[in-house]
């Protein structure tokens, strides 16, 4: 269970976002995706869900149900960048597991974990529809592929540098 507290400023941002969709339950997907970005942790902790529930007029349990159903959401704090390695068949036969191991080794974490500095979370994902670039992966919204042991350090450094700038 996530017990962290989201800063008030972010909660206000989430509130004004959710307010626009008051009573539009069918837009929950959109709101949650945006809210998850606002938090900076790629997560929907309870206090964020409370704000969305209140502003949109849906229940907190519905948000929790929804957020735990879809793999793109997390109720636990994740890294600033989420790396999602495709594990579907075409990527698998193109040695996606090598890429996954390389990522685990470089970042010093296992699948599903977050680096200590809070920069990266490593996850598996089902087919992302770019089988021609297998083995493929997503870093946030960006598609990479074919991912090789050689290309990984370059990709990661792009995000690590971004992190340093901020």
């Amino acid at each position: 269970m996530n017990t962290s507290h989201t800063p008030a400023m972010q909660l206000e941002q989430v509130a004004s976002l959710a307010r626009e969709f008051k009573g539009k339950k069918d837009q929950l997907m959109l709101v949650l995706l945006k809210a998850q970005k606002i938090t900076g942790h790629n997560a929907l902790p309870e206090d964020v869900a409370v704000v969305i529930a209140e502003e949109m007029g849906v229940t907190k349990n519905h948000i929790y149900d929804f957020a735990t159903f879809y793999a793109m959401f997390s109720t636990e704090k994740r890294g600033k960048h989420v790396i999602r390695v495709c594990k579907s068949t075409p990527c698998h036969v193109n040695k996606a597991s090598n890429a996954a191991h390389m990522l685990e080794k470089t970042l010093g974490i296992k699948m599903g974990e977050t680096t200590e500095d809070g920069q990266f979370t490593l996850e598996h994902i089902e087919c992302i529809g770019v089988c021609d670039r297998a083995p493929a992966m997503l870093v946030d919204d960006e598609v990479y592929g074919p991912v090789t042991e050689e290309s990984i350090p370059g990709i990661l450094s792009k995000y690590q540098m971004q992190g340093e700038e901020i």
Binding site: T59, N61, D65, A71, T75
Partner: protein, 573 residues
């Protein structure tokens, strides 16, 4: 109307009828699990599949509407094979501990398994989903038995608007949960127990407290019981008789044989509630108090109001519920007269309600210096105790309730039905205000199962506008109107359970058809009683003369009134 053929039988049904409903009409029983007669279609368990001529795939009959000329077959070998596979997959995730389950013998999954004659071994490893949540004093949630039909969360969301239950995760790892994995005790749950009533299996059950009562009996305590108005309506049903069979004589006999030293009637304190609440209403009307005043008999409603409408708490009557009024008297007035010390008294209440279990442990409910009510036992639990004691309920002689709290009026009797508290209050308030005798005591406008009822009563020049809501979803609607200043009512009755206490979570498993019968039982019983107005109860008059003084007096205030707390933090953390 459309013509269809089901298993070779021609029939005519209305457009929009589902195959399941149509099949019922021609006497074909299709197994169901996620389907509930009082709920919307969910079609997620797939046990009700049937073959439709011209369709390649089997279709769920609970959601599939008929069309002109449709030919359905419900029992072909293919259908039976598929259903059997569906059942096998459900069983693979269902804890195999039927013999020790409180729903043993009264479980829809057992019934389906038996009806389908599923006798082979399940081919998959039995993997169940995580733990048991016993945090709530009222409801036990055992996710190992959950079949994910969604009936509990439907009633919690759509009927009660509480939203304490939801599914978590996806696919194999899906489980029944509360938002952010919270225990029920820390959730928005109001303890109403409607989820227990909706659950087809033993995933949501009543928190069993019978063991504590046996212990008190063994320890030689003076075990006394009060029996709520609705219990005499549903106890016979819980023991296998027809819904609506009312019996208090046999109930008292059975309880004495189980081992209760005294059995009192909560109808008595329902009358007391009317005296206090009626005078509180008059006081508010005459002295510009907060209006509308809202009843406070229902503990699930109280918790709901404390969590969802904390700013409206001043509308609540300060009266304790009949259970807690009785509890306070049983450890103050009763010891003085009976010579038993309060510390030796073990006070049990028999209730149709699971939320009462929560109410009795509220820290403020100790006017006597002790916890006023020690344990609450629901109708289902009492029925179990009667069975366990080897008592044949059907053949019992009748016994009267014990004196001095054994006499209740028709006004107390109708507390069990939605609108009952309102009607009882009106019977008394009318006579107190006008000083005239009320000839026709039946206020038909406040009776029945309509979600929100309104009425206006003329008290010789003073018009009193009243409203009644049952089911917390309806209560929410009414309170939103009060909050917005759009409601000009003077008095509102709220009962958390649809239908009132006779539909409470602690009763035998219900549906609206059974509820109709129970309701008939309530009003038939009221008609039978010689006294039908609370203030005419001679023992009520006596207790005010001897002990309490007057309604809203100092002693009453100390023992019979209470305070509420803002629980809206539950939403935030």
């Amino acid at each position: 109307m459309v013509q269809i053929v089901i298993d070779g039988q021609e029939t005519e049904v209305e457009v929009g009828t589902t195959i399941l409903e149509a099949a019922k009409k021609v006497g074909v029983k299709i197994p169901t699990l996620c389907h509930h007669p009082d709920q919307a279609v969910k079609a997620n368990c797939r046990i009700c599949v049937v073959e439709i001529e011209g369709q390649k795939l089997l279709q769920p009959s609970c959601s599939f509407p008929v069309w002109e000329g449709m030919v359905v077959r419900t029992n072909t070998p293919k259908v039976q094979r598929v259903r059997s596979n569906v059942l096998e997959l459900i069983l693979a995730h269902h804890a195999q501990e039927c013999l020790f389950c409180s729903r043993n013998g009264n479980c829809e999954l057992q019934e389906v398994t038996q009806d389908m004659h599923f006798t082979r071994e399940v081919r998959y490893t039995n993997e169940t989903r995580h733990g048991k949540d016993e945090s709530s004093p009222s409801v036990v949630r055992d996710t190992n038995k959950c079949i994910l039909c969604g009936r509990c969360s439907y009633v919690c969301d759509k009927i009660q608007s509480v939203g304490a239950l939801c599914k978590e995760g996806r696919g194999f790892s899906t489980k029944l949960s509360s938002a952010y994995g919270k225990d029920l005790a820390d959730s928005t749950c109001t303890n109403c127990g409607q989820c227990i009533q909706a659950c087809p299996v033993g995933a949501l059950t009543i928190h069993d407290d019978t063991e504590h009562v046996y212990e008190a009996m063994e320890a030689g305590k003076h075990v006394i019981a009060q029996v709520a108005p609705a219990v005499r309506i549903t106890i016979a049903e819980a023991l296998g008789e027809n819904p609506g069979t009312v019996n208090k004589g046999r109930l008292v006999t059975a309880m004495k044989r189980v081992g209760f030293d005294k059995v009192f009637d909560t109808d008595f304190s329902a009358d007391l509630t009317i005296m206090e609440e009626g005078h509180e209403l008059l006081n508010r009307l005459q002295n510009g108090g907060t209006l509308p005043m809202v009843t406070s008999c229902c503990p699930a409603w109280i918790k709901f109001c404390e969590t969802s409408f904390p700013e409206e708490l001043p509308h609540l009557s300060t009266c304790k519920s009949p259970q807690q009024m009785f509890g306070a008297l049983l450890k103050t007035w009763y010891p003085e007269r009976s010579g038993v010390y309060p510390k030796d008294i073990y006070s049990v209440s028999i209730m149709p309600c699971t939320a009462k279990k929560f109410e009795c442990v509220r820290p403020e409910m100790n006017s006597s210096g002790y916890q006023d009510v020690d344990k609450v036992i629901t109708v289902q639990e009492l029925a179990n105790m009667i069975c366990a004691a080897g008592i044949n309920f059907a053949d019992l002689p009748e016994t009267e309730f014990d004196s001095p709290f054994g006499l209740g009026t028709g006004a107390g009797e109708i507390f069990g039905a939605t609108g009952g508290v309102m009607e009882a209050a009106l019977r008394t308030v009318y006579e107190v205000v006008t000083g005239e005798e009320l000839e026709d005591v039946d206020f038909n406008a406040v009776r029945g199962f309509e979600g929100i009822k309104e009425a206006s009563v003329d008290l010789k020049g003073i018009e009193v506008k009243v409203a009644i809501a049952h089911g917390l979803g309806n209560a929410r609607k009414l309170m939103n109107a009060v909050k917005a200043g759009e409601a000009d009512y003077h008095f509102i009755e709220v009962m958390a359970c649809p239908g009132g206490c006779i539909g409470g979570g602690g009763n035998p498993i219900k549906n609206w058809k059974k509820m109709e019968k129970r309701l008939e039982g309530v009003y038939a019983e009221d008609k039978k009683l010689p006294i039908r107005k609370s203030h005419e109860n001679p023992y009520i008059q006596k207790i005010y003369n001897d002990f309490l003084g007057e309604p809203l007096g100092e002693q009453s205030h100390k023992l019979l009134h209470t305070t509420y707390i803002d629980r809206s933090d539950i939403f935030k953390s």
